[in-house]
């Protein structure tokens, strides 16, 4: 099925709807965003944990992603501390995945035959997740619009079968579709509401929180508490609640990092601690899958 380029430019929310509809027709379970702060769609348990173990799985969802260090108080047209990813995960990776992906672009008004679509080498690694994959970033006329990754390892475990992950950067993609130079000028819906109306205040305030006001003494303590809780839950072999605690750990670490109170050496140590947690959770999860 090839979608015709529509004349009317797609709003931000219509882009999401179209992608959801498209991937729904491909048999994906359409999920809602995970209700915890995460750094990327990959952290959603529907990706991390479900990519482990032998059972087939197809899903697609929007995930708000928080990257405290990328905040710019709403002053930079390209950078946000909170943004949206549209995430697709399919296990095992289907033979026709590239075709599926290119047609998904058509569904949101990008005709791949008229643009320079390029699959540019990009090997992905997440030290906190103990994860690695090979794939590409997809360029559309020079702009990176998607990450395309075949997972090789997750939570320190080799993936078998291999899942494929497609992550669209929704803001980037929409800036391309709507021909906007600033993320804040994106049209959110057909009533003319813009991205600025929805998120500018939040960018400003959260940048202040992340860079200036977050109580670091407390956050250090909270990190310890969460880490302890995770370990306790791993012992009890309940992987999903354990993973929630681990995600919280990861976010607390990200805020501390943004506050600039973690030295280079400490940084490596914290990342290693989170990775150990993820690995232990991954083990418990896999045991429950076979």
């Amino acid at each position: 099925m090839v979608y015709k380029t529509k004349k009317k430019t797609l709003s931000f929310q219509d882009t999401i709807f179209n992608l959801q509809k498209y991937w729904s027709k491909k048999g994906c379970v359409i999920l809602q965003p995970y209700d915890l702060e995460v750094g990327a769609g990959t952290f959603h348990p529907a990706t991390t944990l479900r990519s482990l173990g032998p059972r087939p799985w197809k899903t697609a969802y929007v995930q708000p992603s928080r990257r405290p260090t990328d905040g710019r108080y709403g002053d930079n047209p390209n950078r946000l501390q909170h943004y949206y990813q549209f995430q697709v995960l399919i296990k095992p990776s289907p033979k026709e995945i590239k075709k599926m992906y290119l047609n998904s672009l058509s569904s949101i008004g990008i005709n791949y035959e008229e643009h320079d679509i390029r699959f540019v080498e990009d090997d992905w690694e997440s030290p906190t997740l103990g994860a690695a994959g090979l794939g590409w970033e997809v360029w559309c006329d020079g702009m990176e619009v998607t990450q395309f990754t075949y997972f090789q390892q997750m939570a320190g475990v080799e993936c078998k079968p291999v899942s494929v992950e497609i992550t669209y950067g929704l803001e980037r993609l929409c800036m391309f579709i709507q021909n906007k130079k600033s993320v804040f000028d994106l049209i959110w819906n057909d009533e003319g509401i813009t991205y600025k109306d929805v998120f500018h205040k939040s960018e400003k305030e959260f940048s202040a929180y992340n860079f200036e006001y977050a109580n670091t003494d407390n956050l250090f303590k909270i990190f310890e508490m969460l880490e302890e809780e995770t370990k306790f839950l791993v012992e009890k072999k309940i992987s999903l609640p354990a993973y929630d605690q681990c995600l919280k750990c990861s976010h607390v670490f990200n805020i501390l990092d943004a506050r600039g109170v973690i030295s280079v050496a400490q940084r490596a140590e914290y990342i290693a601690r989170i990775r150990e947690l993820t690995k232990s959770i991954g083990k418990v999860w896999i045991e429950s899958q076979s």
Binding site: N76, P77, N78, P92, S93, P94, K95, E96, K98, K99, L102, N103, Y112, E113, E114, H115, D116, I117, R118, F119, V120, E121, D123, G133, L134, W136, C140, D141, G142, M143, Y150, Q152, C159, K160, P161, V162, V164, F176, N179, K181, S263, V264, A265
Partner: protein, 687 residues
């Protein structure tokens, strides 16, 4: 005569992996043909696009003749089953089996008659293994399969003599079909020979031959720059990458707003080259222009590609400009104190600690270099401040360079700015080398301080791991010294650096560091000389028992000897030395206590006297030369002993009946060798 034509179709394989896969496939297939004694056109090629890896060889015979051979089977005492198995595996009968004695006992044999084999059969049997032998620097698995490949492999087309070859490679069956469209992978088409394949894709604008793509891209670029009076920088690495990420290249000239040219050009160039794979252009005076090239993989009929890329570069340059404007006015001197918050390395303090050490170290170097102490101290103090800037955060590869621009903007002395800018150079064997004394001094102090620090906390590289690129640091240090003919006392600097660490509370074992670093740096020098194609024996002898302060000397001598070893002055010198040392070596067994000199009173003829005089003349020469020895001149002087040596050996018998005379003659030859050894340890040189 037939052609072999194989195409492996996959999802987009990255440029570097493609190049590697081409080379591997070429090597493996060539070995196969040679091992099986099949003739083939050795001038063959392997081609690739991001999706297709293509092999084409012609002039292959359809059949090869195998000579008859005796195949050894089981020992005659082995169980009957072994014999049965042997008969079965050779597809023969008991009557044709015979016994034969060998060194290891009596065995069953089978004589295989000479026979003809179809090359297509051999290929079908072996292609799978030839493909398996391709080693990837990075490979992956996908779906449920066990195969590792650069990216998911979708189909294999294999043709010999216009007919399909059928074999199985992991989960894939070969055929005579391939996908014609890399995007949707929808239509498949049968091909029976290479020419029709190439032609078919050429009609679609797709060029399978990478060299052809390169030529077309370069021609198109040249055409445009000639028209626009521009230049491009020859960047083979980038061009080769671009060539291998497109199948139907279309060169598009784009531009960006001229106002961005106010941002330092390195920042703009890095943005274009490493982030976007664009080719920047320059005017005839080598100033960056606002035109740049995009090589698209599609013909830009609607202008979308040009527009899109111009928008991308604008967004990126706007970011860069924003940071440049913000950072350039931030006072470098006032920020030095903030370096206390930036950790240099665990166990080696902050960057503030590091620049304190560098300041003192470079100040000591400035004495040897006869440069201003004040200026080098300023350069050391501000050189790491740019690490805290947004720009270096965005462009880590521009550390130092960005700092140099800040310094220039803030009115620092020209040589100070250049030193800051070049402090990380050279970065390894091939990188650019700073020439100005301030730059060399700053770079030296940075590298010495890092090496001493890492050895101090025992983070030396192991044979397989070097996570902090310490080897590269050391070879850079070697290059700074030898290529710039830098006269520094490296040993003293290392000891002083240890004391600077100690002043800051880091207790290092100076003696240990000194020994280990000395071995390590000399090892790097050997490696460096090897890269410079110096003969191994010259390297070994020039670095034997070498002291750290003599790196330059060892380097110059090896270069000189390497250059002259086959010429008369080298050849004669070594011949004279070898003739003498050979005799000494054979006589060593008799164990003569050497006095270190010969007694002229015991000479019996003129030949001895003349040789003795010549040796003394050479000794005088070596005593007379100061620091600035001309190594070629010295070699010439050594070689001039040729006549005296030849006369001596032609007319004098060393092995005289009188043991005292004999000993004296040996002493004379020993003097010669010792004198030569002063210049170079010739004993390790192979004549």
């Amino acid at each position: 005569m037939s052609e072999l034509f194989v195409e492996l179709f996959s999802e987009e394989i990255p440029a570097k992996l493609q190049i590697n896969a081409r080379n591997e496939l070429k090597k493996n297939i060539k070995n196969f043909f040679i091992d099986n004694q099949i003739k083939f056109n050795e001038d063959f090629n392997v081609y690739s696009t991001p999706n297709r890896l293509v092999l084409h060889i012609d002039k292959i015979p359809n059949e090869i003749k195998l000579n008859s051979e005796e195949i050894k089977g089981p020992n005659i005492n082995a169980p009957e089953k072994a014999l049965e198995g042997f008969i079965r595996s050779n597809n023969t009968t008991l009557e044709k089996i015979f016994k034969k004695s060998t060194e290891k006992g009596e065995f069953y044999f089978f004589k295989k008659e000479s026979r003809k084999i179809k090359v297509s059969d051999l290929l079908e049997k072996n292609l799978s293994e030839i493909l398996t032998k391709i080693t990837w620097n990075k490979s992956m698995k996908w779906a449920n399969y066990d195969l590792y490949w650069g990216r998911p492999l979708k189909s294999i087309l294999a043709i010999f003599n216009k007919k399909p070859l059928n074999f199985v490679f992991n989960h894939i069956n070969s055929s005579n079909k391939t996908f014609t469209d890399k995007s949707l992978e929808e239509g498949m088409k049968i091909f029976n020979d290479f020419n029709s394949y190439i032609k078919f894709f050429k009609q679609k604008g797709i060029l399978i031959d990478q060299d052809l793509r390169k030529k077309i891209i370069q021609n198109k670029i040249n055409e445009i720059i000639n028209k626009k009076n521009l230049k491009i920088e020859q960047n083979e690495r980038l061009i080769d990458e671009i060539v291998n990420i497109v199948e139907k290249p279309a060169v598009i000239i784009c531009d960006f707003d001229k106002k961005f040219l106010n941002v330092p050009s390195e920042i703009l160039i890095t943005t274009m080259q490493s982030h976007q794979k664009y080719l920047p252009t320059f005017d005839k005076k080598n100033n960056l222009s606002n035109n740049f090239f995009v090589v698209s993989d599609i013909r830009d009929t609607k202008g979308f590609v040009k527009l899109g890329n111009e928008r991308v570069i604008e967004a990126r340059l706007r970011d860069a400009e924003f940071f440049w404007e913000k950072n350039k006015t931030q006072n470098l001197v006032k920020q030095v104190d903030k370096l206390k918050n930036i950790n240099y390395f665990k166990g080696l303090g902050s960057y503030f600690d590091k620049i304190q050490r560098m300041r003192k170290l470079s100040s000591l170097i400035s004495d040897d270099f006869l440069i201003s102490k004040e200026k080098i101290e300023i350069a050391s103090s501000i050189c790491k401040v740019d690490l805290m800037s947004d720009l270096v955060g965005e462009f880590p590869e521009l550390q130092g360079i960005v700092g140099g621009h800040f310094a220039k903007f803030q009115g620092f002395d020209k040589e100070v700015c250049l030193a800051v800018s070049e402090q990380y150079l050279p970065n390894g064997m091939e990188s650019k080398l700073p020439k100005k004394m301030y730059s060399v001094a700053l770079s030296l102090s940075d590298k010495i301080d890092s090496l001493v620090g890492f050895f101090g906390i025992n983070l030396k590289p192991t044979s397989s791991k070097d996570p902090y690129a310490i080897r590269r640091m050391a070879v850079s240090l070697v290059r700074l010294i030898v290529e710039n003919e830098t006269k520094i006392k490296l040993k003293d600097l290392i000891v002083y650096n240890c004391s600077l660490y100690r002043d800051q509370g880091y207790e290092f074992d100076t003696k240990k560091i000194q020994n280990e670093l000395s071995d390590f740096i000399i090892e790097r020098l050997k490696n460096y000389l090897k890269e410079r194609k110096i003969r191994q024996d010259i390297i070994e002898s020039s670095t034997f028992l070498l002291g750290l302060d003599d790196l330059l000397k060892a380097y110059k001598k090896s270069l000189c000897l390497n250059k002259n070893i086959k010429k008369e002055i080298g050849f004669e010198t070594i011949a004279a030395y070898k003739r003498s040392s050979n005799i000494l070596n054979t006589e060593k067994k008799i164990s003569i206590e050497s006095l270190g000199f010969a007694d002229p009173g015991l000479f019996k003829n003129d030949y001895e006297k003349k040789l003795y005089k010549k040796i003394n003349d050479i000794r005088k020469y070596f005593l007379s030369i100061g620091k600035d020895e001309n190594y070629e001149e010295s070699l010439k002087i050594l070689s001039s002993i040729k006549n005296e040596v030849n006369d001596f050996f032609d007319n004098v018998i060393v092995n005289d009946e009188d043991i005292i005379i004999k000993k004296n003659r040996l002493e004379l030859l020993n003097m010669l060798c010792k004198t030569f050894d002063n210049y170079f340890n010739f004993s390790k040189i192979e004549a």
